[in-house]
């Protein structure tokens, strides 16, 4: 572990603020809380002596680091310790599989209609639960027949662009939600950007959060080598997956320990799409030719969105749309935390973590929920029966694109 991350535990004054915010510790006694599992236990950890199996119940949402007034990298310490623990044990096939969205995407995309239909059957889900340990009720994405890469290549580009941005779409937009990816491109082009969509792979985050750091590093390095030339040319890079953007801004360095100038440069040039558009608006450069959107929409910021430390840019943007009634939710986490809530033994915890958010949404008589992160959207939509959209989709609609 990099010395500055581990060293930050000395700043811990045992104030317990992280424990009051930890959504998992509030939902289940199986996780003793971030302070106990993190700065407190870390002092006693040595390679080969992972005995605190409760650490496996940390969902990795990162709220503890975010709220810590003393600057202790609690979530990062726990992520490293979890990876160490998992390296000492046998990694289940499931955790190696669900952590490779590019692999799943490449396998499923050519046979998408069949794969989607099969995975919607109760029989397949029960089989997946008993063979793999993926909970039968967990929200799984469907796969698209055409990838975003292929759609983006064939799109018609508007002329008159005044600046350039590189689009890091991530795996979900490529294989599961290319429609969202196209909307991101539309909104950027509408605001005068020439959008470059380079070939790109997974950022390695799912592997990292499943404690599989070696392969995660390979994926991260592969992606960085694709994006670094653009960063060196001075281009901004924009991500519409909050968690993947955060991976390149921070987590790859802090958790994977990749100390690489190219990664630092890519991270420095990386913007979440709502962050970029909000900053544009602050500078008076965002187009505001919005049509009214008469909807009632609770907005939930994903945990990884908080990790960016940029406030709630999506909320700032949604409030620009005439007649859109935005309700800011005040809940920490929806529970899913990427792949955590898919797992048979953790699904109930994930549902319990999200329970208050779900009941807020159910009580809001909402037309849809807005949330920046794809896995959160799938989980929230499944749990509430209310469709969940990326804030970008509402902007796209308001622009009339």
């Amino acid at each position: 572990m990099s010395a500055d991350i581990r060293g930050s535990l000395d700043n811990c004054v045992k104030c317990t603020i992280c424990e009051t915010f930890c959504p998992v510790a509030q939902a289940t006694p199986l996780f003793p809380g971030p302070k106990y599992a993190g700065p407190q236990s870390e002092r006693y950890r040595e390679p080969g002596t992972s005995v605190d199996a409760s650490l496996d119940y940390c969902s990795g949402c990162g709220i503890c680091t975010h709220v810590c007034p003393q600057g202790v990298d609690i979530a990062e310490i726990n992520a490293r310790a979890r990876a160490q623990m998992r390296a000492e044990r046998r990694m289940p096939l499931r955790d190696r599989l669900i952590a490779r969205p590019t692999l799943l995407g490449r396998l499923a995309q050519p046979v998408a209609p069949v794969a989607n239909a099969v995975m919607r059957t109760g029989l397949a889900r029960r089989a997946a639960e008993s063979a793999l340990g993926i909970h039968r009720d967990a929200a799984l994405p469907s796969f698209s027949m055409r990838t975003l890469q292929s759609r983006a290549r064939r799109r018609r580009r508007p002329g008159g662009a005044t600046r350039t941005v590189v689009y890091f779409h991530g795996c979900a937009a490529n294989y599961n939600e290319p429609g969202v990816g196209m909307m991101a491109i539309d909104v950027l082009e509408h605001n005068g950007f020439e959008v470059i969509v380079p070939r790109q792979g997974c950022c390695g985050l799912p592997l990292q959060s499943n404690g599989n750091l070696g392969p995660a590093r390979s994926y991260t390095r592969g992606l960085v080598s694709r994006l670094a030339p653009y960063a060196r040319a001075g281009h901004m890079i924009v991500a519409n997956s909050t968690s993947c953007g955060l991976m390149l801004k921070r987590e790859a360095r802090e958790i994977l320990g990749i100390d690489d100038p190219d990664l630092a440069l890519v991270g420095e040039r990386m913007f979440d799409i709502c962050e970029l558009l909000r900053d544009l608006h602050d500078a008076g450069e965002l187009r505001t030719d919005f049509h009214p959107v008469s909807m009632r929409v609770p907005y939930h910021q994903p945990c990884q969105g908080r990790g960016h430390g940029f406030g709630k840019p999506a909320l700032d943007l949604l409030r620009l749309i005439p007649e859109l009634e935005v309700i800011e939710t005040d809940r920490e986490c929806c529970g899913v935390a990427g792949t955590y809530g898919l797992k048979k033994e953790k699904y109930e915890i994930a549902m319990q973590v999200g329970a208050s958010l779900f009941s807020d949404i159910a009580g809001a008589r909402a037309d849809c929920t807005a949330c920046d992160s794809e896995t959160c959207r799938w989980h929230i939509a499944k749990a509430t029966g209310v469709p969940a959209v990326h804030p970008l989709e509402l902007l796209h609609r308001a622009y009339g694109l």
Binding site: I17, Q26, P29, H66, P69, G267, G307, G309, D330
Partner: protein, 410 residues
């Protein structure tokens, strides 16, 4: 307007600014430490003897104490502001007289303003009190509290203790927040209060002091239901952190800030100011991945004192890390005396300000006309010894906000 810091001084300042129509962004490394404190507003508890009438005692403070700079009227207004602005907190007390409350160890502690359920534990009226706990809650010892309160020279209270063995959530240990959440479910509440009733027996008209965990979101409902179930007036006694009353205060302030559309940027640290003549035109903030520049008409530093990073110390002296403001009262290397329980040489160190909370340079002139320093960062007070922390936070935070709003109006 940029407010740096999310403790009471920063959040109160931000809310007052937003109420006055100013666009506000709060930038904070973490959530601030409101959740550690008992949500009481300590105005002045010791000077140096126990203070009974805090507002009257202000006149006896040194001329360079922040309260002296502000004057009695401003302190009175600040003390009443929170109760008026956040009525849902049901704050009691106005600073005229101090209540005397039991601490988690049973010491008797003066405070000016407290939430109703905490203020109900004011020991001045006397009368019998039972201190009670449910055993899974760690670090709360009713027998210790009862014995210490009974031995106090400040109050005359008859006390006894009771402990109930009852399952809180299937765990060997329960934190205050776990207990508070459990009490929000009627079935669990019924179980827990039944066990408490059995443990306490006949209250004989005594008030019952319970760990401060009477609900988080549904506090008023929980407090009333527990009181009904026990057939006694109940009050909250502070616990070891986390503090549930502190969490309620933090949540109430945050909800109002959200209503006022204050931008909250938590998890990022202001690292430097960018000068524009003698003004600070923007702040550089370490966000994820890079330094981001935030333009500012006015900057409020509510970053706290030595304990929370508002001041940093090295071997030779103190520095203010964001703007490099001159630190007054810095004793250099000899910071601490031999007796840790006495005032230390370093205690009053901080940023010297004028009545508008603007930092003063080495020559005594205003350093940057659009910068303000508030809360524990300000020179001249010893909050831990005076019991004046939250009172100072409110008075200085609101004074800075008012100065900024006046300037905006002009």
């Amino acid at each position: 307007m940029l407010v740096v810091g999310a403790g009471l001084s920063g959040l109160a300042c931000a809310l007052r600014l937003a109420d006055g129509g100013a666009p506000v962004t709060v930038i904070a490394t973490g959530t601030g430490s409101l959740q550690l404190g008992g949500a009481t507003i300590d105005l002045l508890g010791y000077a140096p003897a126990l203070v009974r009438q805090p507002l009257d005692a202000l006149a006896g403070l040194p001329a360079d104490h922040p309260y002296s700079l502000l004057g009695r009227e401003r302190v009175v207004a600040a003390t009443g502001w929170l109760a008026e602005r956040l009525p849902a907190l049901r704050l009691r007390g106005d600073g005229g007289t101090n209540m005397l409350l039991a601490t988690a160890l049973g010491a008797v502690r003066p405070t000016a303003v407290a939430p109703a359920a905490v203020a109900a534990g004011d020991l001045r009226p006397g009368g019998p009190v039972v201190f009670a706990n449910v055993r899974p809650l760690r670090d709360f010892f009713p027998a210790l509290i009862a014995a210490n309160v009974a031995a106090s020279a400040e109050v005359r209270v008859e006390t006894r203790a009771a402990e109930a063995d009852v399952d809180v959530r299937g765990d060997a240990d329960a934190s205050p927040i776990a207990l508070a959440r459990a009490l929000e479910f009627p079935d669990q509440r019924a179980r827990i209060t039944a066990a408490l009733r059995d443990a306490i027996g006949d209250t004989g008209g005594a008030r019952v002091g319970l760990p401060a965990a009477l609900g988080v979101d549904a506090h008023a409902e929980v407090a009333e239901a527990v009181s009904d179930a026990l057939g006694a007036e109940v009050f909250e006694v502070p616990t070891a952190p986390p503090s549930v009353p502190g969490i309620r205060l933090y949540r109430a302030l945050l909800a109002e800030l959200r209503n006022r559309r204050v931008r909250l940027i938590v998890g990022s640290t202001a690292v430097a100011g960018v000068r524009d003549g003698d003004r600070i035109g923007s702040l550089d903030v370490q966000v994820s991945g890079r330094i981001s520049r935030f333009a500012a008409d006015a900057v409020v530093l509510a970053t706290g004192g030595l304990a929370t990073g508002g001041l940093e110390a090295d071997r030779d002296g103190l520095r203010e890390p964001v703007l490099g403001l001159p630190v007054a009262g810095d004793p250099g290397a000899d910071r601490y005396g031999a007796d840790p329980f006495r005032e230390q040489a370093v205690d009053r160190a901080g940023i010297r300000v004028d009545a508008r909370m603007r930092p003063l340079g080495a020559g005594g002139a205003v350093a940057h006309p659009n910068v303000h320093a508030v809360g524990a960062l300000v020179h001249g007070a010893v909050p831990w010894r005076e019991l004046s922390g939250n009172g100072l936070a409110l008075a200085t935070g609101l004074a800075a906000a008012d100065a900024i709003l006046e300037e905006r109006a002009a």
